[in-house]
């Protein structure tokens, strides 16, 4: 394994602060937040070595990390594009046209749901209710909710992300130093 899996000093400090939020001996409780940090640090997905690293931080067995990471839908066990486009497909969003949005993105990016564009910029995923049904249809990219989406707004959104070219993760890097307690 050529790549070294290790958090930056700042992220490691945040991880240590999070671990201290739980009682002595219950540090495994910090697993979910740490997996979000791992996705932020390691290109938006969790490889086996990335999960092994998290296990070592929490002093638990790697299998305890794998079984959790594979249960929750937000943890990507395969590489994803820099921007993971998550389109809500549940009831209310669907009533207001989420199906059109998905078809439009598929056509625009020339990929099917679940696929990544050849340039590694976008991955398209459909997800379940994002708790924003009042402003349906909804797309989540990283921590951002894009509300009341239309095909025109989708085009703008894609152009914007493409021109910036940054990786977006659910736990956004800008918050790493914000949480001091």
């Amino acid at each position: 394994m050529s790549k070294e899996y290790k958090f930056s000093d700042e992220t490691l400090a945040l991880a240590q602060r999070i671990i201290k939020r739980y009682p002595e001996g219950k540090q495994k409780s910090a697993l979910l937040p740490l997996l979000h940090l791992a996705q932020m640090e390691f290109d938006g997905w969790l490889s086996a070595p990335a999960m092994d690293y998290v296990a070592s931080l929490l002093k638990i067995q790697p299998i305890e990390v794998y079984e959790v990471a594979s249960f929750y839908t937000m943890f990507n066990l395969k590489p994803v594009g820099k921007c993971l486009i998550e389109v809500c497909r549940t009831g209310p969003c669907w009533l207001l046209g989420a199906e059109d949005i998905v078809k439009h993105i598929e056509k625009k990016l020339n990929i099917k749901e679940g696929e990544t564009t050849p340039d590694g910029m976008f991955t398209l995923k459909t997800v379940e209710c994002l708790a924003a049904c009042g402003t349906a249809p909804i797309i989540q990219v990283g921590e951002t909710y894009h509300e009341n989406m239309t095909c025109e707004k989708v085009d703008e959104m894609l152009n914007d992300y493409k021109s910036k070219g940054e990786r977006k993760t659910h736990f956004d890097k800008k918050h790493v130093n914000a949480n001091q307690h």
């Binding site: 009682p23 839908t73 009831g91 046209g97 209710c129 095909c151």
Partner: protein
């Protein structure tokens, strides 16, 4: 607009900041609570008649009084902010606009329960709200409202937020506890109840965001005054998140007992069905509750006006009634297809089943397959009874209520809209013409 106990200051600029929140009466309830005895606070909540706002509607004061208090064992309050019930977005709204209301409610409630470490478990998708809460909590620590010796009272409390990882099931309180412990969200068999053995085996109370926020006005006005608001055993106000085919989707705080018709048609609330179309059906309390056709949502089977309250929405049982649930009010107009909507919901439950109990793991999958067959035009006449049979074998036969939540929409859709299923099966060629959803390419003009 009726009484606004939670959202009164929601539009004040900067209300998410501590100083602005305090300038509008914030943390007055905490000051008052710290001068009271914890048991007196529990009594006030009992008197208020407050019921769990997450969906089950269990009396909060009673839940609190079940909390075991063994000597020397820490106990915990955990806030359920895993809002994931389709159609429900009130907690996200409350937390992102009024983070200090939740923080204040958490401190008041933790004090009442004798908890010194409390957690807010928020769904992972809402990480941006997680950071809003973290900011509010940091402000509260800096102001001496959290940490050691809060406001000189001698009471200590640490409050932390934990993000989930994307799983509807973690809204179920024992699954939430498992997830908080860093495990898969598999619900636990009860008993023991969390009040006796919850997070890390310690006595734990799990309450919804809105429930905890409601303790703030309850402490401020007193339980008896709070109980005067609302109707009968549905006391106080409730946040309703309205969505679907209506003119004004959004979060509304209503006084319990408001007529459904007024909520639906008044410009203060939903503003009527979109594009002047006719109402077809409403899912009144989040995707899990039984769907009701227009006539039964507006009036009960006895012909009385249906009210937005726990009792009135449940009037008639599941034969002709539904539930207030989480307050996720989903409106379907005459162009919507109940069958397609049901297929969508059932796919959701299949996707979200944790897989522990066979009836739910297998049953939700079979219901999705059969419904998919029908909406694709390959339905068979016996499929309707087959669906009925499957749902009846899930309902009540699983560890947690996800199984029930998956079966109720199926049962109610068949009960009230059987003819629509039959039409799909008899005339598959018509299915392609069914306009179930609004085209986003054509939002303003009517699609039909």
């Amino acid at each position: 607009m009726g009484k606004q106990l939670l959202l009164e200051h929601v539009n004040v600029p900067g209300i998410e900041k501590l100083d602005v929140y305090r300038a509008h009466g914030g943390y007055k309830a905490l000051e008052k609570a710290l001068r009271m005895k914890p048991d007196e606070l529990v009594e006030e909540v009992k008197k208020s008649g407050l019921r769990g706002r997450g969906g089950a509607g269990f009396p909060t004061g009673m839940k609190w009084s079940f909390l075991a208090k063994p000597e020397g064992v820490p106990r915990h309050l955990v806030c359920n902010a895993d809002e994931s019930e389709p159609g429900t977005f009130k907690d996200r709204y409350l937390m992102s606009h009024l983070p200090h209301l939740l923080v204040e409610g958490m401190i008041v409630s933790s004090f009442a329960l004798g908890a010194n470490t409390s957690y807010i478990y928020i769904r992972g998708e809402l990480l941006y709200v997680y950071h809003i809460l973290e900011k509010a909590i940091a402000e509260a620590y800096a102001a001496g409202l959290l940490g050691k010796n809060i406001l000189g009272s001698g009471y200590d409390l640490d409050l932390y937020v934990q993000p989930g990882g994307g799983a509807y099931i973690c809204g179920e309180e024992t699954a939430l506890i498992e997830s908080l412990e860093g495990k898969r969200g598999n619900p636990r068999i009860k008993p023991p109840f969390p009040a006796v053995a919850g997070v890390w085996g310690r006595p734990t109370v799990v309450n919804n965001v809105e429930t905890i926020a409601a303790t703030v006005p309850i402490v401020n006005m007193g339980g008896e005054e709070y109980a005067k608001i609302g109707i009968g055993k549905s006391t106080g106000t409730k946040l309703i998140s309205a969505c679907g085919h209506i003119n004004k989707p959004g979060v509304y705080e209503i006084e319990l007992g408001l007529p459904v018709e007024e909520f639906l048609n008044s410009d203060q609330y939903c503003g009527g069905v979109k594009n002047g179309r006719k109402l077809k059906a409403v899912v009144a309390g989040g995707s899990s509750v039984p769907i009701l056709p227009a006539d039964l949502i507006l009036t009960t089977a006895k012909g009385e006006p249906r009210l937005m309250s726990y009792e009135s929405l449940a009037d008639g049982g599941f034969q002709t009634g539904t539930m207030l649930g989480s307050g996720g009010f989903i409106v379907l107009d005459e162009t919507a297809s109940v069958v397609k909507n049901l297929w969508n919901f059932t796919r959701f439950y299949h996707h979200e089943s944790c897989g522990q109990c066979s009836p739910c793991r297998e049953g939700t999958g079979w219901m999705e397959k059969v419904l998919h067959r029908i909406v694709e035009g390959h339905g068979k006449p016996e499929d309707i009874d087959l669906l009925w049979d499957i749902q009846s074998k899930i309902d009540g036969k699983t560890i947690c209520p996800l199984g029930d939540a998956a079966s109720w929409p199926v049962a109610s859709a068949i009960r009230h809209f059987r003819a629509e299923f039959e039409e799909y099966i008899k005339h598959p060629e018509k299915i392609k013409d069914v306009k179930h959803y609004y085209s986003v390419r054509n939002q303003t003009a009517p699609v039909a």
